[in-house]
Every structure is written in structure tokens, then in C-alpha cells.
């Protein structure tokens, strides 16, 4: 079956490395994500002070989306790009921080700036604000990367014209492990938007 929609570009961030369309475009020795994310931010000359207020999951998702969307010459106001993200650990990295702050039995002082990130879809909000996307956002949790469900969901959004493009993928932050894999699906591009192809890009085959 011929694909109706195509993958225009894809980005992968893991192990201190940023890859775009299969090519390594930035790499550092930093083993700690906080250093790596800051270095990546500086390397790509991003100017967005709010970045430093984000939690780890949002920083990771934000950077991967930045790499893909900065090549898209977006309009200031009319970008119908849906966001369909997934992961395994939801927002657990930040959930653990919030939990720590409320463990005392006496006075507790939870931080609102931490609590707000105890939802995985906040990273979709951050990307929507940054790129002025007034479009659909959905965040799914799966045991492992589920290419079939992402493919069907994106296909439906495009087929029913609810979105012009869909930025899909996986953003996981758990303990010291992190991985982002995002890809942009639209009408005019080269790589077929099939489950098989998505899987091979995800597993870097």
C-alpha cells in the first residue's frame, strides 16, 4: 500500500548526542543531563530564558522539537501542527521531586514550580507556547515504543484534516536515562509514514 503521508524529518537525543535526519549534529562528553541540555541550548544559540525553568522532561522534548521545527519556517500565528508524544515513565522524574518535598509529617513546602511539571503533557504545552501551536496535543503512556498507535493516530489527524502536520514520538526521562525520538509527518516528503519505517528510525537500524 502506498503511504499517503510522509516523514519529513526526525531527531534523536540520547547519550549526550543530538542527531537530525540520521546525522550527528552535536555531541558532548557531559554525562549529566543538566549540563548536556545547557550545552545543547547554547550550541544551537537558542534564546528562550524560560527553558531554564523547565523540568528535565520538558527540556528534552523542547530541544528535540526545536531541532525539527526551526527548519520549518513557521508562521507567527497559523501553525496547525499537532503534537502526539508518548513515553513509559510519564512525569515520574519530577513526581519523585514533588514527593520528596511533601514527605515530612509536619510543615511541608511543596514547590508550585515543581508541581506544575508533574504531568507529562506539560512538555507539549511548552512546545506549543514556543512555536505558537494552537493545535491538538495528546500524551500517551506505553510499556515500550508503540509505533503502530502513533502511526494510526497521526494518520487519522492528517486524513481528517484536523492537523496539517503532526510531530510525533517518544520522550522519556527516568532516573539518569533519557531518550527523545521525534519525527514530523506531513503530506509532502520522502520517507513513507509506515509502522515499519517508524520502528526502524526509532531503533536506529
Amino acid at each position: 500500500m502506498r503511504a499517503e503521508f510522509f516523514i519529513k524529518s526526525f531527531c534523536r537525543i540520547e547519550n549526550g548526542q543530538v542527531m537530525f535526519n540520521g546525522n550527528t549534529i552535536f555531541t558532548t562528553e557531559s554525562e549529566i543531563f543538566s549540563n548536556f541540555s545547557k550545552e545543547t541550548y547554547r550550541h544551537f544559540e537558542i534564546s528562550y530564558p524560560k527553558f531554564f525553568k523547565m523540568d528535565n522532561l520538558s527540556k528534552l522534548a523542547f530541544l528535540a522539537a526545536e531541532i525539527i521545527l526551526k527548519n520549518e519556517n513557521l508562521d507567527a500565528d497559523k501553525n496547525n501542527i499537532a503534537l502526539v508524544f508518548s513515553n513509559r515513565a510519564s512525569s515520574l522524574d519530577t513526581d519523585r521531586k514533588h514527593q520528596k518535598s511533601i514527605e515530612n509529617s509536619g510543615s511541608i513546602f511543596p514547590s508550585p514550580a515543581v508541581f506544575v511539571y508533574t504531568l507529562p503533557n506539560i512538555c507539549l504545552g511548552e512546545i506549543s507556547i514556543r512555536h505558537r501551536l494552537y493545535s491538538e496535543n495528546s500524551f500517551f503512556i506505553f510499556e515500550k515504543f508503540n509505533a503502530e498507535h502513533l502511526q494510526l493516530y497521526a494518520h487519522n489527524l492528517l486524513r481528517t484534516k484536523k492537523a496539517e502536520k503532526v510531530l510525533c514520538g517518544w520522550v522519556e526521562f527516568d532516573g539518569d536515562d533519557y531518550k527523545a525520538f521525534l519525527y514530523l509527518v506531513e503530506k509532502n516528503a520522502e520517507i513513507p509514514h509506515t509502522v515499519q519505517k517508524i520502528e526502524s528510525l526509532y531503533y536506529n537500524e
Binding site: 510519564s90 514533588h98 508533574t118 504531568l119 506549543s128 491538538e136 500524551f139 506505553f142 489527524l157
Partner: protein
């Protein structure tokens, strides 16, 4: 292809099935109470909480409660009823969606005897899947306070793409120390029963419910899999989700995302504002949320459509709220009754909206459900009574 919401079940402090909960609402009863429980929050708080003992005794009728967390028991109990009533066999073409924001987050607390791995939402998915023997992995949707309505839209998409013939949705969140303390840090909790859209509103109450529903389609129905639909069934006419692109916690001052999502849902439903009989709005009773909704509804020209918030009956039930409120809406249509927006007395938003102040009986056919949440997300869906 046409899509339907059919069999349903609600478990809340107001009752243990949809009918009991709707009866309670119809009688103006609220499940909100003031609690003094320092283990949950140092200061007194108002919430709707389901008795753990009562759930356990219900659950022990179908399995062993000690092996399951409270939320799991709730989800299983509500879903079991829907699966049985539907008479659908759980084959390859039957999907499962779980809508929750925090799942079993309370296992992160130190004194819990369940392993911390249970905090992973995918573990919750496995528990529910295995209990019933679903053939497919659970799809877990965690999209803040719009999750419950968005889950309906997600089910519709997967049925539309022929992945599934039928999708069971179950939803739930607990009133935990985790969420109470967080909303407290946002200065968002009201110490008294909440008063959506009222001049004297002072914030939200949290609540816990479990709500489950079956989503199916005209094609699956004509295949004869389905028994006769329950009389509260509705057709999904249209739905949309839009982001405010404005702020991660504060709603847009112009109601941009809500405005856009309702507009697109109405476009898909091919209906005019004048055809809406009722709006089941989000109405959390915070200053900013209620004000934002009033602005969006006025921009849409639907400010005269009778509207309520159901938060005064069972609080803000987070990942379940959109679904439980949709189910109440289904029953509202079936009973041809608009339910009073509990806690409302005097309009306290800057633009006029038509808040239902007492129960009204009148013929009803189409309603709009809306929800808005952290992350700037907004979802709208339009439902129509299935005429016999």
C-alpha cells in the same frame, strides 16, 4: 461511520452506579465533605472521597482486594460492569483506554507495602488488561484535566482507523497527598464546597471517581455484536482539542484554545449555536478558569445556552472529570432534565453566561462538553441523544 457512547458506569461518593449518582445529583446532593486528615494535608480540606472499606467489600465479591490498589479496584469495578452489560467478547478488535493523570502515585510514599514500580502508569495498564484478559496493550492517556474527554476522541480515532471495533474507556484518579499538596501550593484549594461561576467562589475541591464507558461505531453495531443500546446512549457528533499556546498553568485570558476547540467541534458536528441544548462546562471555581470560560463562550455566541459545572457534586476528579461529566450529560439528555450547577448563586464572571440555577425539565437532544487543563490544553466534544 458514526460513533456512539453506550454502556457506562460511575463510582463516586454519591453512589456505586451511574443511576444512583445521577439520582443524587437530581436531588441536589453533594459528595463533598470537609476532612481533617493531616496524613493527606496539614490543614482541613474539602473533597469528595470514596470509602476504601466500601470499595473493598464490593471488590471482594469479584476478586481479592488485598492484591489491588484502591485505584485499581475502582477502575476494575466500574469497567467490569460495562464489559458485562455490553456482552462484547474481548477479542483482537477490542481496545482499552485508561484515562488518568497520576494513577497509583501514592506508592511513592515510603510506608506503602506495594512496590514503587506500581507508580508506572504502564503497570496500571497491565493490571487492568490482565484482570479482564484484553488482547491488546492498554492505551494510557495522561493529558491533564482534559484526559477524560480526550479519551473519547482517541477511541473514535482508533475505531475510525479500523484498529478496533469497540473501545472500553476507564478513568480515575485518587485524592492523594501528592495532588492535594500540589494544588495547595497553587493556592487553588477552597476550604469549603466549591462554587463554580459564583461571585464568592474561592477555588477548587478535589474529588475521586471512577467512570467507564463503551465507545463503538455504526459499523460494529450493524455487525450485530452489540445488544440493544442503553437508552442514555449518545452519538459523538464532533470533537476537537486545541492548545492555548499561552501559559503552562494559567488559562488564556482570551479563552483562545477553548474558543478554537469548540468552534472546530461544532464545525465537525455541522451544528449551529442555536442547536445546542446544554453545555457541560469545566467550571473548576478558580477565578481564572471560570472567567476564561465565560469569555470563550461569549466569543462563540453560545453564552445563552444553559450551562452547568458538576464540580459542586463531586469536586474536580482530574483524569476522570471529562468522562464522568460526559456520562452525567448522557443521562441528563435521557431524563430531559438540566441539572442545577451546585454552589452557584450570583454570577461572578465579567461576561454573561446562562448558569442553570435549578433543575429544569425540557426536551433535550444535543450537548457540548468542554474541559481545560494544565499545559494549556482544551477539549470540546458534542453529543446527540440516540433517538429510538
Amino acid at each position: 461511520m458514526r460513533f456512539f457512547l453506550t454502556h457506562n458506569k460511575i463510582i463516586s461518593s454519591l453512589g456505586f452506579d451511574s443511576k444512583a449518582v445521577v439520582d443524587a445529583i437530581s436531588n441536589g446532593n453533594s459528595g463533598l465533605k470537609i476532612f481533617h486528615n493531616p496524613e493527606l494535608l496539614p490543614s482541613p480540606f474539602c473533597a469528595s472521597i470514596i470509602s476504601s472499606e466500601k470499595i473493598k467489600s464490593e471488590f471482594n465479591k469479584i476478586s481479592k482486594a488485598e492484591n489491588f490498589k484502591k485505584l485499581e479496584q475502582l477502575l476494575i469495578l466500574s469497567l467490569a460492569k460495562v464489559i458485562t452489560a455490553s456482552k462484547i467478547e474481548l477479542g483482537e478488535k477490542v481496545g482499552l483506554i485508561i484515562s488518568t493523570t497520576k494513577g497509583n502515585i501514592d506508592v511513592l510514599e515510603n510506608n506503602r507495602h506495594f512496590p514503587k514500580e506500581r507508580a508506572y502508569l504502564s503497570e496500571l495498564g497491565k493490571t487492568i488488561k490482565n484482570f479482564f484478559g484484553f488482547k491488546n496493550e492498554a492505551i494510557i492517556l495522561s493529558n491533564a484535566c482534559v484526559s477524560g474527554v480526550l479519551a473519547i476522541s482517541v477511541a473514535k480515532k482508533f475505531i475510525s482507523e479500523k484498529k478496533y471495533d469497540h473501545v472500553f474507556i476507564t478513568s480515575g484518579d485518587l485524592v492523594s497527598k501528592f495532588v492535594l499538596s500540589g494544588f495547595q501550593s497553587f493556592q487553588a484549594l477552597s476550604p469549603n464546597p466549591c462554587r463554580p461561576y459564583d461571585k464568592n467562589r474561592t477555588g477548587i475541591n478535589l474529588g475521586e471517581v471512577s467512570a467507564s464507558v463503551l465507545v463503538t461505531s455504526s459499523e460494529s453495531l450493524s455487525a450485530g455484536v452489540q445488544e440493544i443500546l442503553p437508552s442514555e446512549s449518545v452519538e459523538i457528533l464532533g470533537d476537537s482539542t486545541c492548545n492555548d499556546a499561552n501559559h503552562i498553568s494559567g488559562p488564556s485570558r482570551t479563552g483562545e484554545g477553548l474558543y478554537r476547540s469548540v468552534k472546530l467541534a461544532m464545525k465537525e458536528a455541522k451544528i449551529e449555536a442555536s442547536q445546542l441544548d446544554y453545555i457541560s462546562a469545566h467550571g473548576t471555581a478558580t477565578d481564572y478558569n471560570d472567567e476564561m470560560e465565560a469569555i470563550a463562550f461569549n466569543r462563540l455566541g453560545i453564552q445563552n445556552v444553559p450551562l452547568n459545572s458538576l464540580k459542586g457534586y463531586f469536586g474536580h476528579t482530574l483524569g476522570a472529570s471529562g468522562l464522568v461529566e460526559t456520562i452525567i450529560g448522557m443521562h441528563s439528555l435521557e431524563r430531559n432534565t438540566l441539572f442545577a450547577s451546585k454552589g452557584f448563586d450570583e454570577l461572578g464572571v465579567s461576561e454573561k453566561i446562562n448558569v442553570i440555577s435549578e433543575n429544569i425539565e425540557k426536551p433535550l437532544s444535543i450537548f457540548l462538553k468542554t474541559a481545560s487543563g494544565f499545559g494549556g490544553c482544551n477539549t470540546a466534544a458534542i453529543f446527540k441523544k440516540v433517538e429510538k
